[in-house]
């Protein structure tokens, strides 16, 4: 028996400790911040109890980053921030400076490299999004292309503070809704509109039929023998195109270029500021998938944003604005059609029926 000495495999070490990544000004003032100011969109100044100041410059990122760009960020961090930087929970990049006079040159460098600065306070920050056609098998649409198209048309709202309050947009490419699409001011969601196309040839080989059947929340899947093979069938009327069957069984693909597309949702939030966190509600059930620029989607989002910008009060998030003016008026102002699809018919649907005469005409 040959004995080779293999170095012990390193496992379960977890992430590197954050402390070693903190710039000295933060280490000195950790837990001692007193207040902050937003100097201009994208530039924060945090002031410590000790009087020390930290300047953060927030730049947009496409999130999908090449190592080339990350190296560029690293170089900028070396140049201006002693080598320190961070990313935000919405995938922007933040440069952490001790000196106010370095903010302007950093901004210039970022602008030159094509990275807009903004996203703070009452702006539209980066769009939280998912994989789409870049990486996921489930997607009813792409994610990155929609984000790019929408943000191109809304970037003024990122770099300038022109809104009554924060506006958070999210994109998810299927009903799994990776991210917080279900609680965003505006959500862009890929949807299927046809039942899975069953691959009877491979089904029995790659899927466990009982697990598959029980995966369907509406009980639309029944065991069936098709052309002599053990397989399943889907009762079309009972399918609401959630794709859960596909998640558990590759033989149930949902993709359908003619029928896949986009739905638009509005009025969600997660912060507890003023009102409680809210789910996003359906605005537009379906828009076509129209790459590379998704003009219908861009148009729809822009329309909603502009109506919000024009009509909401200061500090009023999208959902708070709509609740104040009422949904009938939201549909009226935006010109969006109210359809049967807007009326909930899921589990707790009854609770969304208007159970009062609090009516606006």
């Amino acid at each position: 028996m040959a004995t080779t000495i293999t170095p012990k495999r390193i496992t379960d070490i977890g992430p590197p400790h954050y402390e070693k990544f903190l710039p000295p000004v933060i280490r000195r003032n950790y837990g001692a911040w007193k207040y902050h100011e937003v100097l201009e969109p994208g530039v924060l100044c945090h002031v410590s109890e000790t009087g020390e100041k930290l300047y953060s410059v927030r730049a947009a990122s496409p999130r999908l980053l090449s190592i080339q760009t990350i190296r560029l960020f690293a170089d900028l961090a070396d140049k201006y921030c002693g080598g320190y930087l961070r990313f935000t929970s919405r995938n922007n990049v933040e440069f952490l400076l001790e000196k106010l006079d370095e903010v302007a040159p950093l901004k210039a460098d970022l602008a030159a490299a094509g990275f807009p600065i903004g996203g703070t306070r009452a702006t539209i920050s980066n769009i939280v999004h998912t994989q789409g056609w870049v990486h996921c098998h489930s997607s009813a649409t792409d994610a990155s292309g929609i984000v790019k198209s929408v943000m191109d048309s809304l970037s003024e709202y990122f770099v300038e503070e022109k809104l009554p309050a924060k506006l958070r947009i999210a994109v998810a490419c299927c009903l799994n809704m990776c991210g917080a699409v279900h609680c965003s001011d505006i959500a862009i969601l890929g949807v299927h509109r046809r039942p899975p196309k069953i691959r009877h040839d491979m089904l029995a080989k790659v899927c466990e039929v009982p697990t598959l059947i029980s995966s369907c929340p509406t009980g639309a899947i029944r065991s069936a023998v098709v052309e002599g093979r053990q397989s399943v069938e889907v009762i079309e009327e009972q399918c609401m195109f959630c794709g859960n069957c596909y998640t558990v069984c590759p033989a149930m693909p949902m993709n359908d270029p003619e029928n896949d597309g986009i739905s638009i949702w509005v009025g969600g939030k997660v912060s507890n500021a003023r009102s409680e966190p809210k789910f996003t509600k359906l605005a537009i059930p379906f828009l076509p998938n129209n790459p590379p620029r998704w003009p219908e989607v861009v148009e729809a989002v822009k329309n909603i944003v502009e109506n919000y910008a024009k009509n909401a009060r200061r500090f009023e998030r999208m959902g708070e604005w709509i609740e104040r003016i009422g949904w009938p008026r939201f549909f009226e102002l935006t010109g969006i059609e109210f359809t049967r699809y807007h009326i909930d018919d899921f589990k707790n649907a009854g609770l969304t029926f208007a159970r009062s005469t609090h009516l606006r005409f």
Binding site: R9, I10, T11, D12, I13, G14, P15, P16, Y18, F21, I26, G31, Y35, H36, P62, R63, L64, L65, S66, I67, Q68, T69, I70, F73, A74, D75, G83, Y84, L85, F87, V128, W133, V134, H135, H137, V147, K148, S149, M151, M177, C178, A180, V181, H182, C183, P217, C242, Y246, V248, N255, P257, D260, S271, N272, A273, R274, P277, P291, P292, R293
Partner: protein
Amino acid sequence: MDEKKPKTELLDELEKGPWPSFVTEIKKATETSPMATDLLGQLELSYHERKGHWKHGGIVGVLGYGGGVIGRYSDVPEQFPNIAHFHTIRINQPSGWFYTSDSLRTLCNIWERHGSGLTNMHGSTGDIVFLGTRTEELEPVFKELTEAGFDLGGSGSAMRTPSCCVGEARCEWACYDTMKLCNDLTQAYQDELHRPSFPYKFKIKCAGCPNDCVAAEARADLSVIGIWKDDIQQDDEAVAKYAAEGLDIQRDVCDKCPTRCMSWNGELTINNRECVRCMHCINVMPKALRPGVEKGAALLIGSKAPIVQGALLSSVLVPFVPQEELFDTIKELISRVWEFWDEYGKNRERVGELIQRVGMANFLDAIGLDPVPQMVTAPRDNPYIYFQKKSENE
């Protein structure tokens, strides 16, 4: 690289405009990786055909780990052989997503050697995501990552990498040390992260205050959200200054307070007894108002995306835990929650769904927590009470 550039007339459209372009990123990556070139090609195909070109899943990973890698294969590998395999690797991010330039360069170098050179900074759960490599590269990537001090994140029916807001590192409102807690929890649950053994995924997110900058309310099986118990700290001079500078305190602060527990007549009075700690007034006047000094966090349970029983928001489990006790309390609580979930959770049933199925009261019994009114927006409105047979002194 001397690969032929694919024709990308549709994708090229997405290099125009002010917003940074992911297409440009992929093109940049083609400098160092032929995978990026084929990704560009396949994506262009998807744009033409309006559908994705990835096969369903596929289980791949590194030795001894049950997750952290999402297997992915092209369904047109003949056309795009370099992305026949295109697995992603999820990597535990450092708390708060802070980096040094050197640590980033280390990551880039590893990924240049072993993958597509494309990343997500970061994934929606918070991980560093390395986007696209071949099965045989997984072990080498892993080896180099761990040597550099990084480790894989979670996938499948396992714990996922916790994440947190920037907290005390840069925010005056943090009611506890989010980054420390997040890091400690991530370290404490390495085994659960790397070896899926749950009914389904389990996510933890730590926000320093009710603003919830990490969206815990919406997407964490356990949300730790900072809060204070005593009164808002108020600096009347600073309030006056805001007023003098033109802030309409009545309209923009008092009238937006959800409980209308503030009044303004040249002086600001807060009825702290009725304040629900929503943060609004503090957000608007950060120099004048601050959270109280008795700080800690509320523990909430069970949020998730809609698949399959409908989306859930996190709901209050423990209204207040002092900051010093957070780590221990959470560890104890989680162990009880997991025990119950292990025993009663159905396959692919998230904790929040389980609670709804068995009922909150039964769940509390099982994990040994007493019911308190803070757990509900209101008591039940239906008379369908399962009176227990052995009832105390009713």
